[in-house]
């Protein structure tokens, strides 16, 4: 599942864009929310981030990962359920499709109560940058983005 590299690139690019905008000289840490639905291979993502950060403002950055459980709510019957309740029913290629495009959950997952594919992903869809800490002109800056 080596497309984690592409996700790492998008994280690094985004952090660099924000650092530039906020005049951050050196990024100290980046907090990344990892939605369970996308089934990221965390080790690969970490390796990619550590390789990509070299020679950038992120050189010294620590990456903090916060895993977020995936939860759904049915628009038809309002039932709420968890990805972990239904994950075992997915075939390998179905799980991989969702890994690339989390919205394919609507193709391969149905409400366990009423069978509808028309549901909301309440949380845990994919990757989000939840905070960046860095140094501007010597003083630390905290940002909850």
């Amino acid at each position: 599942m080596v497309h984690e590299w592409a996700l790492a690139e998008s994280i690094v690019k985004t952090v660099l864009d924000i650092a530039k905008e906020r005049k951050i000289k050196s990024v100290l840490s980046v907090e990344i929310a990892i939605g369970q639905l996308q089934q990221i291979e965390l080790d690969i993502l970490k390796d990619a981030l550590n390789e990509l950060k070299r020679g950038t403002l992120l050189e010294k950055a620590k990456f903090i990962f916060v895993e977020e459980e995936a939860e759904f709510q049915c628009r038809n019957c309002n039932n709420i359920w968890k990805f972990s309740d239904v994950k075992k029913d997915l075939k390998a290629d179905e799980a991989e499709a969702i890994h690339f495009i989390p919205e394919l959950a609507h193709v391969f997952i149905k409400c366990p109560r009423c069978g509808s594919p028309d549901f909301i992903v309440l949380k845990g869809r994919g990757i989000r940058i939840s905070a960046i800490r860095g140094v501007t002109n010597g003083s630390p800056s905290f940002d909850n983005s």
């Binding site: 080596v2 592409a6 924000i18 690339f100 609507h106 594919p117 994919g126």
Partner: protein
């Protein structure tokens, strides 16, 4: 903060010209024309990508006859398979023949995901086949791809022209450069030429109604022999290549 948005311009950086094939109206030939145009540009030695953005009803793969076993390769992202010299991306690789009950918001989220992980590489043209309507997909492609051009498809029917007029007004408001209008399924005299004039949009030419098209679908060699394909070549030469659109 969504990390996907800032990488998209990066992923599309080495693509010279991005063209969204739009109409507002369904069933006017957007998918047939997008697919044929990609094939023909490739035969003219251009590097071409084709991205089927109709995530409720993808169908470029049917026009091209892309076999089911062909899949993108995972390599630091997704590399779209090359079929008949065209780099082709579609949600169909993943959803196969299953229902796609994606709401507008989900569809654009899926499009953003694919835009952010697909490695097109160097291209002369990326053709984007849009769904009908002037809804999420059209609005977000305009928002996300700042240098996209619009290529408008219509039939001569009254039922198409009113919707296409709404679309053209919208593209002008949003300052999207319009390459022009292609009239598809023309028979007899054209009202579209006058329509284009009235709307102040370039009329690029007409493709005839062709009842041999249906049996050619899925077979690229047959397709390229149809009257539609042959008429399209002239439009590509005069209206797509070297045309930088009228920014409205």
């Amino acid at each position: 903060m969504d990390p996907r948005l800032s990488i998209i311009p990066e992923r599309l950086r080495h693509i010279d010209k991005k063209i969204m094939v739009v109409s507002g109206k369904g069933g006017v030939g957007k998918t047939v024309i997008s697919s044929l145009m990609a094939l023909e540009l490739a035969l003219m030695e251009k590097r071409v990508g084709l991205f089927d953005l109709d995530f409720n009803g993808p169908s470029c793969h049917i026009v091209l006859g892309v076999p089911e076993h062909i899949m993108p390769v995972e390599e630091k992202g997704l590399i779209p398979p090359t079929f008949r010299k065209v780099k082709f991306m579609s949600i169909r690789y993943f959803a196969k023949e299953r229902p796609l009950p994606l709401r507008g918001e989900d569809a654009v989220n899926a499009i953003i995901e694919l835009l952010s992980i697909t490695r097109w590489g160097k291209l002369d043209y990326l053709i984007l086949d849009l769904p009908p309507g002037t809804s999420d997909e059209v609005l977000d492609i305009i928002r996300l791809i700042k240098d996209v051009y619009a290529l408008i498809i219509t039939t001569p029917s009254k039922l198409a022209l009113e919707t296409v007029s709404r679309l053209i007004q919208l593209l002008k408001i949003l300052k999207v450069p319009i390459l022009g209008i292609i009239e598809n399924m023309r028979r007899g005299e054209s009202k579209v030429y006058d329509f284009a004039k009235k709307m102040d949009v370039r009329y690029l030419g007409a493709l005839p109604y062709d009842d041999t098209l249906e049996e050619a679908l899925g077979d690229v060699n047959l397709l390229l022999e149809t009257k539609v394909a042959k008429a399209l070549i002239n439009i590509i030469r005069s209206g797509i290549i070297e045309n930088n659109g009228d920014e409205q």
